[in-house]
């Protein structure tokens, strides 16, 4: 991790969550709830491509990934986050997604629909876990 990334993380002291979700309504609502809970949000991104582009400029403290996006499963983003040792959770409405992303079995999976409060809480736990 570069010095610059460290800077991004610490900006204004609020933890930074990357949000990857292609259902706009859900994404915007979750963004609002995360902001209310004191998080800074990177995104929401509706495609893996745009999320990966952003990852070229910064590193979040944690991430919420929808399993399947408009441009396919979130594999590349999840791999990049794993490489940088960023804890993240995957949430999905489809059982098939688990088989599709079998290599991420050890990651926290949450099934849709889920109250935003639960996602916020899990993010908090992920952040504590990595301290």
């Amino acid at each position: 991790m570069s010095e610059d990334d460290q800077m991004t993380k610490q900006a204004n002291g609020r933890p930074l969550v990357l949000l990857l979700e292609d259902e706009a309504l859900i994404a915007l609502n979750l963004q609002g709830d995360l902001q209310d809970a004191g998080y800074e949000v990177a995104g929401p991104f509706v495609t893996c491509t745009t999320a990966l582009e952003w990852l070229g400029t910064g590193t979040p403290n944690t991430a919420i990934l929808d399993a399947t996006l408009k441009d396919g499963p979130c594999r590349e983003v999840a791999l990049e986050l794993s490489r940088r040792e960023v804890p993240f959770l995957i949430y999905s409405g489809y059982h098939e997604d688990r088989e599709l992303l079998a290599e991420f079995h050890h990651v926290t999976w949450i099934e849709k629909p889920v109250p935003s409060a639960v996602l916020v809480q899990v993010c908090q736990q992920l952040l504590i876990g990595c301290d």
């Binding site: 259902e23 409405g93 849709k112 629909p113």
Partner: protein
Amino acid sequence: MLNDKLLPAWTESDRLAALRSYRVLDTPAEPAFDGLVQLAARACRAPIALISLIDERRQWFKAEVGLGVRETPLDRSICLSAMLRPGVTIVPDLTQDPCFARNPLVTGEPYLRFYAGAVLRTPDGIPLGALCVLDRVPRDLSEDQTFTLETLAQQVMSHLELRRAIAERDEALEVSHRIEQRQALLVRELHHRVKNTLATVQALVGATGRSTGSFDEFYRSFSNRITSLAKTHNLLTEDYWQIAPLREIALNELKPFAESRQPRFILLGPSVELAADLAVPVGMALHELTTNAVRYGALSVPAGYVEVRWNMNDAEGGRKLHLEWREFGGPSVNEPQHQGFGSTLLQRVLPMQCNAEVEVQYAREGLRFRMDAPLVEQRLVPAY
């Protein structure tokens, strides 16, 4: 009475249809049929035996011994005549029979002299051809041999029946397999859609909660949004292709104003059907626009009206839907003080969800909304 018996109960097209139904023409040799002609040749002590099927312009042999060809033109067919007679036809010397004396297979190679054929008849009594034995010398058939030939002809028919039953069963299985596949696709899609809808409803609770001041207001807005969502889903589910006509989506919202004496809305656009990915957000957008128009805009006063226009444009990478909402005759419009759910939906959800370009103009004479979104052309279910 006698004449009635001579007249066949079938036409040539019936006969050809029956023959086709066995799906046997031009199929490879099969041991079961080969065995039957070998048995016929041996039992009748004849060098040649054939299972001959009379097609439109040829006789085709499902099995043969001693002739070395799989088909001949119909003008050389002796079975064609034999098939039209009842039982077993025996011609001891073909050169002596005026019907066959000039047949090229009699006058030239292989110089056929003797013919005996048993009709291959369907259970409905339609003749398909004959099981026949042939010899190069004039001769006759014993009673036992005649009986054997007739019995073997019945065996040929039994095998043909069995083949047909199997072919029909395979086709039925294929059809039911395709139906099953479509059903599985639909169940999966429905499962996705239910989960998605629940997640959307959950987001709607949050978004409505953020933008309403009282519980009553929350309850009213929220219920109306759910009702609108349900109507769009109705349109999608009713359709075989799981798509919804844009006109119907708009009517779901504006129909209450159709009863008025003065026209309160105009829908102008070609017939266009939207897949769920576009139908649901567009339906929600039209709901928010209508609700806003009823509360503050053109539909809040008797003289106001709404014009909804749309068309399709061919753009790079596919077709695009252009949709415009314009209000006329309402109270003068001011830019809203804070961003409510309606404007979030129009200005943020549509661009994110549908890749749409949108523009909202709070023009003094009436609200204007415009969107351009790429059409989702992918078909969810296969045709069958």
